[in-house]
């Protein structure tokens, strides 16, 4: 078995292959020089908390030894030779595979306005080390993009005393996948923390020391960061002639158009049963783990469809946000207020089936409700709207029957 990638999906694939009693060789090829590490802290604790500066390893030396994984770090795979079932690395070496897993992740989109090259991006631990040096009291930080990574970086920069401006071209932050009422709570938290939020305005160009907006305003900047989304890392797959459709196109078994090649994590798209068979690609930490687990079973001859409900979280200031399922498929909203300042929205289809849940609140105030909703989504149930809306009635009752 050969795994290309050094992130969450790759690490979990190694663990799951062994957990499913696979005793043969596992080779993990990563272009990074570090052992596989966790990415979510890179925009959060790794920046603000000195004690958390070191990468959080997903596979440390002792786990690698106990799983007997052959690590090839520091050299990207440059080609897949499907005819003879091997891959080539940048150092010219080749590795043969019986089954190959592509877990190549995604890479940040670059700004294409003039001067876009001045903007830093965040994907790996090296990027975090650079950003950490740029942040500090009074530093003028301009974040372009009101998606999760941009917002988390704005939160971290503001915690470190920077003067932060966030610029979003859309009419509001978190346009993709987050209901407006929840995005508003996030927006207000940034304003309360002193972040200047410039919404609905585009970028004209960027210089070494400022961001020029389309409405003529000029925002001085010591550091400019772009958080405008990520695109799946598909080059290897595309060059090898594998089907590509918003990522490396897989079936529900996480198998690509070549039966000996699988894909998992941020690079992969697949049809999802709960999403009415629609092809989706997720950039989410738990999904990367779960897809790797599905792929591992099927690489060993299984036939498991990937049906896990998508789930995502984000932390900003003291707020925790969690989303499960799909808001899009549930046009009717039921609101629950589990605690002061917290909000949970259930996204219901016209026939009363629960399709998605979005929650935000201080600390852990919404975790349990989101979890119960996720179980209901997985079972495609039609829970009582009265109980969903009434925070004095525990949702747990909905799990029975």
């Amino acid at each position: 078995m050969v795994i290309v990638g050094g992130g969450m999906a790759a690490a979990r694939a190694c663990i799951n292959l062994r957990a499913n009693d696979y005793a043969g060789t596992i080779t993990l090829v990563s272009e990074e020089t570090l052992l596989p590490y966790d990415r979510p802290p890179l925009s959060k604790a790794s920046i603000v908390d000195e004690a958390a500066h070191a990468p959080v390893l997903l596979l440390d030396d002792s786990i690698v030894a106990s799983l007997k994984v052959d690590l090839r770090l520091g050299h990207p795979a440059t080609a897949i030779n499907r005819a003879d079932q091997s891959i080539t690395l940048s150092d010219g070496s080749t590795i043969a595979y019986a089954k190959l897993l592509l877990a190549t992740g995604a890479k940040p989109r670059k700004l294409n306005c003039p001067g876009g090259e001045h903007a830093l991006t965040l994907r790996d631990h090296k990027d975090t080390v650079v950003l950490r040096q740029k942040f500090g009291p009074g530093k003028k930080i301009v974040v372009i993009g009101g998606g999760f990574i941009g917002l988390e970086l704005a939160s971290s920069a503001s915690k470190l005393g920077c003067t932060v401006t966030l610029i979003e071209a859309q009419p509001r932050i978190l346009m993709r996948g987050v209901p407006e009422a929840i995005a508003k709570i996030v927006h207000d938290a940034h304003v309360a923390a002193g972040v200047t939020m410039i919404i609905g305005t585009g970028i004209s160009h960027i210089t070494e020391s400022a961001v020029h907006l389309t409405d003529g305003r000029i925002i001085a900047a010591d550091t400019v960061i772009a958080g405008i989304g990520a695109s799946p890392e598909i080059k290897l797959a595309a060059d090898a002639g594998l089907a590509i459709e918003n990522g490396i196109a897989c079936n529900a078994q996480m198998q690509t158009s070549d039966p000996n090649i699988y894909a998992a994590g941020d690079c992969a798209s697949f049809p999802h049963q709960q999403m009415e068979g629609k092809r989706i690609r997720l950039e989410a930490w738990r999904s990367a783990q779960e897809q790797a687990a599905t792929a591992a079973v099927n690489m060993l001859g299984g036939d498991k469809a990937h049906t896990n409900v998508p789930w995502f979280w984000s932390d900003q200031y003291d707020l925790s946000l969690q989303i499960a399922g799909s808001a899009e498929l549930g046009p009717n909203t039921i609101t629950r207020i589990p605690a002061e300042g917290a909000l949970v929205l259930f996204h219901m289809a016209d026939d009363g089936t629960i399709k998605g849940v979005s929650g935000i609140g201080l600390g852990n105030s919404i975790g349990r409700d989101v979890k119960i909703a996720e179980i209901l989504i997985a079972k495609s149930t039609r829970p009582s709207p009265e109980i969903l809306a009434d925070a004095s009635q525990p949702l747990r009752a909905l799990l029975k029957g």
């Binding site: 979990r12 783990q289 789930w311 979280w313 600390g363 975790g367 349990r368 979890k371 747990r396």
Partner: protein, 104 residues
């Protein structure tokens, strides 16, 4: 050394549920299983020190509200990603309507 502490009333914990119990600067989680037995563990997740009492109990499992890490609260055993360090468990005894936990 045994140190039995009166933690709560039995009725404070619903069946298949958990509550938080703080004592002398430490925090614990007290569980009542579907078969009506009581258990106690450290209160904080071994991943990022999140209060497990805010999580969901399903059968013998407590799921952390933060990143869905799972533990068997009857044994403290971590049940897979992202948690890998087991939870410490504490003995429980019941006297009348009260639940005592041995935190020594």
């Amino acid at each position: 050394m045994t140190q039995w502490i009166d933690a709560c009333a039995k009725d404070d914990v619903a069946e298949e549920d958990v509550i938080r119990f703080d004592h002398a600067g430490r925090t614990f989680a007290i569980y009542r299983s579907p078969d009506d037995k009581f258990y106690a563990t450290d209160g904080l997740c071994t991943h990022e020190k999140i209060h497990l009492a805010d999580g969901l109990v399903m059968d013998n499992i407590i799921e952390c509200p933060k990143h869905n890490g799972r533990f068997d609260y009857t044994t403290g055993v971590a049940k897979g990603a992202p948690v890998c360090v087991n939870l410490k468990t504490y003995p429980i005894k019941l006297e009348g309507t009260r639940v005592f936990i041995n935190i020594a």
